[in-house]
Every structure is written in structure tokens, then in C-alpha cells.
């Protein structure tokens, strides 16, 4: 057992566990936020696991998740827009907390890997993850002025 | 020669892919011709391989022949029964392609090739399942066959019944497939192998059977029994077969259901028949019990139907029950009989569906009551329909009669009575339909609205209602019936079939199969019984068609997906309970 895996277990048990509970109960606005946060917690956990197992190739998983996770949330934001407009979610505290997990994990891993191609990949994953999550979160809360497009 | 075994799958798949790729560019007749040609080519290949399959051979896909008895590849079995089923599936696909030739419903624009392509994929899936010697590979082809069948069943999306039947079919069969996968997982955990023979050896090496073997057996059999529609896994079948387009019904009832039965035979024979598997008495108890129940319920429900396709679907259920009994008794003679019975039944049942399709396309209804006397003008179709009914009853010299009589002698005792009764009742129901619809005999039945599915309100499957019956649509059932007769009378054919079955099935015990006076007599008895029952039903509709007595049984067939899933769960438990007693001692 090394510290990386332990950290991953904590992130999974605490963060993802809470989102599973959040997505299963409560009003719709809470559920969509939980779904979004699930990506935000699972992705750092995958990065930690990759480091813990000493398998750099597992980083691909986190990369794909960082790309597709927010896309999934945007799908929900788009297709559930009517229901969400009536009762917009807003959980900025939690969103920033989740983003912070990513923001802590990625630099820590960068330090562990040292400057290399792997580190560039990690940074890309981190940027995609945090950017995507904040954006998806804002899209859910309907904070954007809407633009009509021809 | 042996290396061409995978082509049985590859050729139809390639044909289907090309049809879809080029379907946009070519007109419909070209697409249909290509479909027929590919299907016929595959059938020819299957027949050639079948003729060369003595002694049976194994083919390793990807050239991974075993090193020191172990391989990492997928094994395909080229033996008589497997190749026979592949040939049967291919020939029936050809028949249904010919039947749908030019007349079947208009394809969506730009997709002229999609219906023949789906039939070819179906053929590929069935051939793959028939020759699979690897349990997971069998799952893959099982799933391909199922996925294509769902799409084909729901093909007429404008029919409310079609989409509902297709969904029920899809949910129940998929659940069965996932059960099969759980079973594969358990077997892989125990033996670390996927080839059927390899798993069998692994189980034997482990010693006496235990709960794991029992659970794996139940889960694997659940999938195959769902496919072969044994009670209580059978509920999807009438719903799906009654709503599928006629050419598809011919395939579903004619060979897909029988492939499930074949799968039971194959998997038991290769995986579970050794000392580490399921003991023979337990297997026999489970299969004969379920088979008898299936035959009885299928026959009773068949009798009470007025939707003609649904009636035929229930007769398939009844006959599957008879097949399962024959396989369950584990006697070489019964296996031979069932092989012949399946061949004859495929021809007869497909022909009956084809005739019903003509009724649907001509009159826009498949309701026995509404069609009363309306089809008097269709003399030729009437003859074919009656011949089909007699074949179903087991009138010599139909192949069904030969197969049935051989099996009856093998099973003996009360089961023989069941064989006679089930085939007589289902045939009587079909004869009753013939008398009313084509002959206009008896009083016009009342069109009450009980708890039942009527056959009216169905739309023809052709572009317009047919005013003249095209020759292809009558020629196909005629050829199929001729084939069913040929199974019974072609000199030496029965011996060849028996030899091919025994070579793989019965560890070197060879039996001789031929007509016997007793068998002929039993065939005549069941035909006579069918005729008498049908006449009485036509003459005294009130006394014989009182559905109230069977209402509780009919209520079980509720068309509700949840009910059917619940029955599947109950079925697994029953199967487990039936198999359990002898396994406890070990």
C-alpha cells in the first residue's frame, strides 16, 4: 500500500461516495451538481491510481474522462434545460472544493513525475478537468446570458 | 477444406456489409438478387462441409492450433449436427428471401439492401452459433442472432403490436444472454478455459459437482431455454412470432428456436456430461419435466387462439417441448429422432407461416373468425395449408412423422401419449383454421371480445393489398413441404442423419433409424385424432372453444414485460430445484 493509492481511496470514498449519495436523492438541481462533481472527484482519483500503480499509461483514462465528463454534464444541462430553469442549481462552494482537489492533485503528481512529456500530459488533463468542470457548473446554473444563433 | 468452416459466418457477413454499402446505389431487385445469391452460396458451402463432416473435425480460428493440447484460439466444431443446423438455417434464409422477393414492404428510401442485409446477418449469426465450440463465442453469435431478430421483429414500426412484441422479446432474451454470461464467468473461474470441451475436461478434473457447477448449469441453460421457449421462459415467443413479418416468422419458428434446443444438446454434451458435470438423471428430470410442461401448455394455448400467427407460434412452443423431452432422455435413438423431427418441423412450420402471410397480404387479417369462409377462392393455398397441418400432426410420410415415431419409441411409456396428444391438438387447431377460413365450414364463430388477441386490424406486409398471389409466395411453401416429405421418404437420408448425430452425440453407439409399423400407426392415430378434433370444433364451436376454462392460463400471457422477467427468475429457481437433488450427495 502506498500513499498515492491511499489518497485515491480517500478521494473515492469521500468525494465520489458523497456524489453517489447526492445523485440518488433530493431534487433535480442537487442531482445534476452531484453528477458534475463525480467527474471532478473521479478524475484526480484516476490520476492518483496511475501514480500509485506506477503505470503512466493509465493517465489516458483520466484524459478521456476530463474530456468527456463535462460533455456529459453539458448534455444534461441542454436536455434538462426546461426543468433546471425553473429551479436552478447553485453549489459554488462544493464546485470550488472539487476543483481544489484537482488543483492539489495535479501539481503534486507533477512534482512526483518531474519535467517530462508525462508532466505535460498531466497539465493538459488538469486544465481540461478544472476548466470543463467550472464551465459545466456554470452552464447548469444557467448563469450564462443566452445567445441566439441562426 | 476444414479451413473454410469460418466462411459459413464470414460470407453472409461480408454480403450484408456490401449490401449496406452499395444499397444506396443499386435498385431493389439487384439488392435482393445479391442477397439470395450470397445466402444460396453459404447454403451450398454448408452442404458441402456437411458431406465432408464424417468424421467430425475441429477448426481453430486464426490458425491457433493447440500446442500440447492447449490453444489460445477459438475452436469451431464441424460435425453433422452443427453443420446440419447451419445448412438448415441457410436454406430457410434462402426460402424467406425468396418469399419476400419483390413483394415485401417497401424499404425506407436509400436502404434497398437493408432487409436482405439483416436476413444475411441473421443467417451468419445462426451459422456461427451452430458451429461454435467455444462458450463465449457461442454467446457472441447468440447475441448477434438476437439483436438482428429484435430489429426484424419490430420491422413494421407502424404496428403497435409489432414494436411491443419486439421489445418484450428483446428484454427477455437479453436478460437470458446476461445469465449465460454469468454462467460463463463461473465456469471460467473454476476451469480457466472457454472452449466447451476444455471446460468439460476442467470440470471433470476438479472432481465431484458442487454448487458452482449447479449454478453455472442453471445460468447457461436459462439462456438456451429462453431461446428455445421452454415453459416458463416461453412468454416472449407468441408475442414476438405473432407480430414479426412473415418471412421473419419462418426463420424464428423454423430454426432459431430449434437452435436454442440444439444449444442445450451441445452444451450438455460437451460441458456438463462428464463426471464433474451434471449427472444424467438430474438433467433428464429437469428437461423432461420442463419439456412436458411446455408441450402441454403450448398445445392448450394453441387450441384457444384465433390469431392465426399466434396459434402457429404456440404450436412451435408445444413442439419445442417435445424436442426438449427427446433430448432430455439422453438416448441415441431419441437424438436421431429429434434431428429428423426438427428438419421436418422446420419445413412444415415455415410453410404454414408462409401460407398465413398470403392470407394477411390478400385480406388484411389473420383472424380465424373474421376470415370465416373468405379464402374459398385460394384453392392452392388451401391445399398447402392442409398439407402443412397434416405434417404437423405427423402423417406418414412426412419427415415429422418419421422423427416423431423414432423418438416415441425411444422415450416410451406415458411420454409417447404426450407426443401423440400434443402433435394432434396443435394440428387440430391448424386444421380447424383451414376448415373455417378456406372451407367456410361450420357456423360463423361469434366475435366476442374476451381476454385475447384477435387477428384483425393487421396491415398487409406488401405495398398494396394483393389482388393476385405472386408465384414466388406459393412456390416457397410448396418447396418447403416437399422438403419436409423428402426428409421422411428420401432413401438412406434418415440413416445418414442418424449416423451424423451418433458420431458426436452418443459415444460410438450407432442406431438404425427407419419406419416401423408401430410408428406409422402412431402417426396415423395422431392425424386421425387431429381430424376428429378439428371437425368437432368446427361443428360444435360452443362446446369446444370455451375459453373460460383456460382463462387463468391465458391471463398469465399478459403481454407485460415485468411479468415475463419475473417468470424467468422463477424459471431459474425451478430449474435449480429440479437439478439439485442428485448433486447434494456429491
Amino acid at each position: 500500500m502506498n500513499g498515492w493509492i491511499l489518497a485515491a481511496a480517500v478521494v473515492l470514498g469521500g468525494g465520489v461516495g458523497a456524489t453517489v449519495w447526492g445523485v440518488a436523492t433530493g431534487p433535480l438541481r442537487r442531482r445534476v451538481v452531484a453528477q458534475n462533481l463525480c467527474t471532478a472527484f473521479a478524475c484526480p482519483a484516476l490520476l492518483l491510481l496511475s501514480q500509485g500503480y506506477d503505470r503512466p499509461s493509465y493517465v489516458d483514462l483520466a484524459l478521456v474522462l476530463a474530456l468527456l465528463g463535462p460533455v456529459g454534464t453539458l448534455v444534461f444541462a441542454r436536455l434538462l434545460a426546461d426543468e433546471l430553469a425553473a429551479d436552478p442549481p447553485s453549489a459554488w462552494g462544493l464546485t470550488y472544493a472539487a476543483a481544489a482537489v484537482g488543483a492539489v492533485v495535479v501539481p503534486a503528481l507533477c512534482v512526483a513525475t518531474g519535467p517530462s512529456r508525462a508532466m505535460a500530459k498531466l497539465l493538459v488533463v488538469g486544465a481540461l478537468l478544472i476548466g470543463g468542470n467550472l464551465l459545466a457548473s456554470r452552464a447548469l446554473s444557467g448563469a450564462f446570458p443566452e445567445v441566439r444563433r441562426g | 477444406m476444414d479451413a473454410s468452416l469460418p466462411l459459413l459466418v464470414a460470407v453472409p457477413l461480408l454480403g450484408a456489409a456490401l449490401l449496406v454499402a452499395g444499397g444506396r446505389l443499386v435498385p431493389r431487385p439487384v439488392a435482393e438478387t445479391v442477397g439470395c445469391a450470397v445466402s444460396a452460396g453459404t447454403a451450398a458451402l454448408a452442404l458441402v462441409l456437411l458431406l465432408n463432416s464424417s468424421p467430425p473435425f475441429l477448426e481453430w480460428s486464426g490458425g491457433w492450433t493447440p500446442v500440447q493440447g492447449q490453444s489460445v484460439g477459438i475452436v469451431l466444431i464441424g460435425d453433422g449436427p452443427g453443420l446440419g443446423m447451419a445448412a438448415l438455417a441457410s436454406l430457410l434464409t434462402l426460402a424467406s428471401l425468396a418469399y419476400s422477393w419483390h413483394y415485401f414492404d417497401e424499404p425506407p428510401s436509400g436502404h434497398a439492401g437493408s432487409f436482405p442485409a439483416l436476413l444475411l446477418l441473421f443467417q451468419g449469426g445462426m451459422c456461427g452459433f451452430a458451429i461454435a465450440g467455444d462458450l463465449f463465442n457461442a454467446f457472441v453469435w447468440f447475441e448477434l442472432m438476437s439483436v438482428v431478430a429484435y430489429a426484424l421483429t419490430g420491422h413494421r414500426v407502424e404496428e403497435a403490436r409489432a414494436v411491443q412484441g419486439a421489445l418484450t422479446f428483446a428484454v427477455v432474451t437479453s436478460l437470458g444472454a446476461y445469465a449465460l454470461l454469468m454462467g460463463i464467468g463461473l465456469l471460467y473461474a473454476r476451469t480457466g478455459e472457454l472452449g466447451m470441451h476444455a471446460i468439460g475436461r476442467g470440470l471433470d478434473a476438479h472432481g465431484c459437482p458442487d454448487a458452482l457447477v449447479l449454478a453455472a448449469f442453471v445460468l447457461v441453460m436459462t439462456a438456451l431455454l429462453v431461446k428455445s421457449a421452454a415453459v416458463p421462459f416461453h412468454f416472449w415467443l407468441p408475442d414476438a412470432h405473432a407480430v414479426a413479418p412473415t418471412p421473419v416468422c419462418m426463420l424464428l419458428s423454423g430454426v432459431m428456436v430449434e437452435l436454442g434446443t440444439f444449444g442445450v444438446w451441445r452444451v450438455y454434451g460437451t460441458v456438463f456430461s462428464g463426471p464433474g458435470g451434471v449427472p444424467a438423471p438430474e438433467f433428464e428430470r429437469a428437461l423432461v419435466t420442463l419439456g412436458a410442461l411446455t408441450a402441454v401448455i403450448g398445445a392448450v394455448m394453441c387450441w384457444y387462439q384465433r390469431h392465426i400467427k399466434r396459434l402457429l407460434a404456440y404450436s412451435t412452443v408445444a413442439h419445442t417441448g417435445l424436442f426438449l423431452i427427446g433430448i432430455g432422455v439422453l438416448k441415441p435413438e431419441a437424438d436421431d429422432g429429434i434431428a429428423l423431427y426438427v428438419l421436418g418441423h422446420a419445413g412444415v412450420k415455415a410453410a404454414l407461416f408462409a401460407c398465413t402471410g398470403i392470407l394477411l397480404d390478400r385480406y388484411g387479417s389473420v383472424d380465424e373468425h373474421a376470415l370465416h369462409g373468405r379464402a374459398r377462392e385460394l384453392k392452392g393455398v388451401a391445399v398447402l395449408f392442409v398439407l402443412g397441418a397434416l405434417g404437423l400432426a405427423g402423417l406418414p410420410p412426412f419427415g415429422t412423422a418419421l422423427g416423431k415415431s423414432v423418438t416415441e419409441e425411444a422415450v416410451g411409456g406415458p411420454l409417447t401419449v404426450l407426443y401423440v396428444a400434443a402433435s394432434a391438438v396443435t394440428a387440430a387447431a391448424v386444421l380447424r383454421v383451414a376448415a373455417r377460413v378456406f372451407g367456410g365450414l361450420g357456423p360463423r364463430p361469434e366475435t366476442g371480445s374476451g381476454y385475447e388477441t384477435t387477428g384483425s386490424g393487421e396491415r398487409p406486409e406488401t405495398r398494396h393489398r394483393l389482388s393476385r398471389i405472386p408465384d414466388t409466395m406459393t412456390a416457397v411453401p410448396a418447396v418447403l413441404l416437399a422438403g419436409a416429405v423428402a426428409v421422411g421418404v428420401a432413401p438412406g437420408f434418415a440413416k445418414v442423419v442418424a449416423r451424423a448425430v451418433n458420431e458426436t452425440g452418443s459415444a460410438g453407439v450407432f442406431t438404425s433409424v427407419h419406419w416401423t409399423p408401430a410408428g406409422v400407426l402412431l402417426g396415423l392415430v395422431s392425424t386421425l385424432l387431429a381430424g376428429v378434433l378439428a371437425l368437432l370444433a368446427v361443428a360444435r364451436p360452443k362446446a369446444f372453444a370455451a375459453p373460460d376454462r383456460a382463462l387463468w392460463l391465458r391471463r398469465l400471457q399478459s403481454g407485460h414485460v415485468g411479468d415475463y422477467v419475473a417468470w424467468v427468475l422463477v424459471g431459474t429457481t425451478v430449474l435449480g430445484a429440479l437439478t439439485l437433488p442428485g448433486m447434494l450427495g456429491g
Binding site: L74, R149 | P6, A21, V570
Partner: protein, 246 residues
């Protein structure tokens, strides 16, 4: 059947199956055990064929026949969906109203689209080396195209997505897989035999003989198939309306 009766059936059947399964689980070899004869043989076989990702070797070489079935299932499902979700006689095509999209969402989508597409291609191309392969990469690539639907609108998506072309691509990729298999039969020893091409150098893009070819065929097939599937569903949701009169 009443809901109550059904619940009873589920309870009885479920309890039986659960008991059976628990009994079986107790007889299973302990989790994490060391007995994997087939697995060990597969690893050995993959290394002799110089394929770094053993799963790719199992999928596209040792058990390539299974993958043929798997991709055919997908192919069949696509044809099935095209047929099941066709526009019927009583329906007509409506003109979808332009969707409102927030500007940041649009920017994000258009920015991520090329990244996701590249990632998909990368995952396909490295299928025989690192985790991934035709299926995973194909889904990612096809999903990325639909960022256009999220970021711009349905009509923008339709412009880059001639469905007919993707249907043909799907069919061509499927035939390519079968034809590669036939090449193994004609030029080598057996159907789908990986003996036609040299095995190359371990852990490079061209290693593994026909594995990269089959992998690419599956990638193309899956990408096209997912695009067509989603197109059918989007078509139903966005465009097709039921007409009141004909």
C-alpha cells in the same frame, strides 16, 4: 397479473437465484487467486507476436473471431436503428427552431472538439500498445463530433455529418475486417490468421502484424456506427414530428 402477484414471483425467483449464486460464490476460487491458465497462455502468445497490449492481441489476434461477431452486432444494431427509427408515412419533418447557446459553452465546445477528436484518433492508433483501441477511440471520436450539437446547434452538426456517408463507412469498415480475415485464409493458414504481415518491432505503432489493421477497421466502424446511431435519435427528437393530417 397484479403487481402484488408479480412481486411475489420476483421474490421467490430472486431468492432462489440468490441462494444459488451465493452457494456458487462460496465454491469459487478465492478472489485474486493465481490460477489463470488461459490468461498466462494468452500473455505468452501476445509476446511472441510482439503485441505490447495483450488485450489487443486477444481481441484482434487470438480471439479475433469474437471481435468479428462483436462488430457485426454493432453493425446490425445500426441497421436495426436506421430501420426502426425511420420516418413513417404519418410523420413529417419539422424545421427545428434555432437553439439558444451560451457563448462560453460555444467557445468551450469548439475548443474541446479538436482535442477530443485527436484524443480519439490517438487512442485508436495506440490500441496495440497502450490501453485503448478501436472501440474506445471510435466512441470518443464520434462523441466529439456531437460537441457541435452542444456548442452550436443541430444544423451545424448536420452540415459536417452526411449520415449516408457514415453508413457507407460503417459497412466498408466491416467488410475490411472480413476481407483481412479472408486474406489470412488465402495467404496464410486460417481465417483471421495473423500470419500475413511481419510482426515488426515490439512496442512500435506497426507491430503486431494484422492487429493494427483490424484495430483500425474496428475504430472506423465504431466511430461511424455511433455517429449514425446518435443521428437517428437526434433526428427523432429534434426533427421528426407526428402529423395530424397526411
Amino acid at each position: 397479473m397484479s403487481r402484488r402477484a408479480r412481486l411475489w414471483l420476483v421474490a421467490v425467483g430472486g431468492a432462489g437465484l440468490a441462494a444459488l449464486f451465493v452457494a456458487a460464490a462460496l465454491d469459487l476460487p478465492a478472489f485474486g487467486g493465481d490460477h489463470h491458465p488461459y490468461g498466462d497462455r494468452a500473455v505468452h502468445a501476445a509476446l511472441t507476436r510482439r503485441t505490447a497490449n495483450v488485450i489487443a492481441s486477444v481481441n484482434f489476434d487470438q480471439r479475433a473471431f469474437d471481435t468479428l461477431g462483436e462488430m457485426t452486432i454493432l453493425f446490425a444494431a445500426v441497421i436495426g436503428c436506421v430501420i426502426l427509427l425511420r420516418r413513417t408515412h404519418d410523420e413529417h419533418r419539422g424545421r427545428p427552431a434555432p437553439e439558444k447557446v451560451a457563448r462560453p459553452v460555444r467557445r468551450y465546445s469548439l475548443l474541446v472538439l479538436p482535442v477530443a477528436l485527436l484524443t480519439g484518433l490517438y487512442v485508436i492508433a495506440h490500441g496495440q500498445l497502450s490501453p485503448g483501441g478501436g472501440f474506445q477511440g471510435g466512441v470518443v471520436a464520434a462523441t466529439s463530433l456531437h460537441l457541435l450539437y452542444l456548442g452550436a446547434d443541430y444544423r451545424a452538426l448536420e452540415r459536417v455529418r452526411p449520415v449516408a456517408l457514415y453508413e457507407t463507412g460503417d459497412a466498408i469498415a466491416t467488410s475490411a475486417y472480413v476481407v483481412t480475415g479472408l486474406a489470412g485464409l488465402i495467404g496464410g493458414s486460417a481465417f483471421l490468421a495473423n500470419t500475413v504481415l511481419p510482426y515488426g518491432t515490439f512496442n512500435t505503432l506497426s507491430s503486431g502484424g494484422t492487429v493494427p489493421l483490424l484495430n483500425a477497421a474496428v475504430g472506423m466502424e465504431v466511430a461511424c456506427a455511433v455517429v449514425v446511431l446518435l443521428a437517428r435519435f437526434l433526428d427523432q427528437t429534434v426533427e421528426i414530428e407526428e402529423g395530424n393530417g397526411k
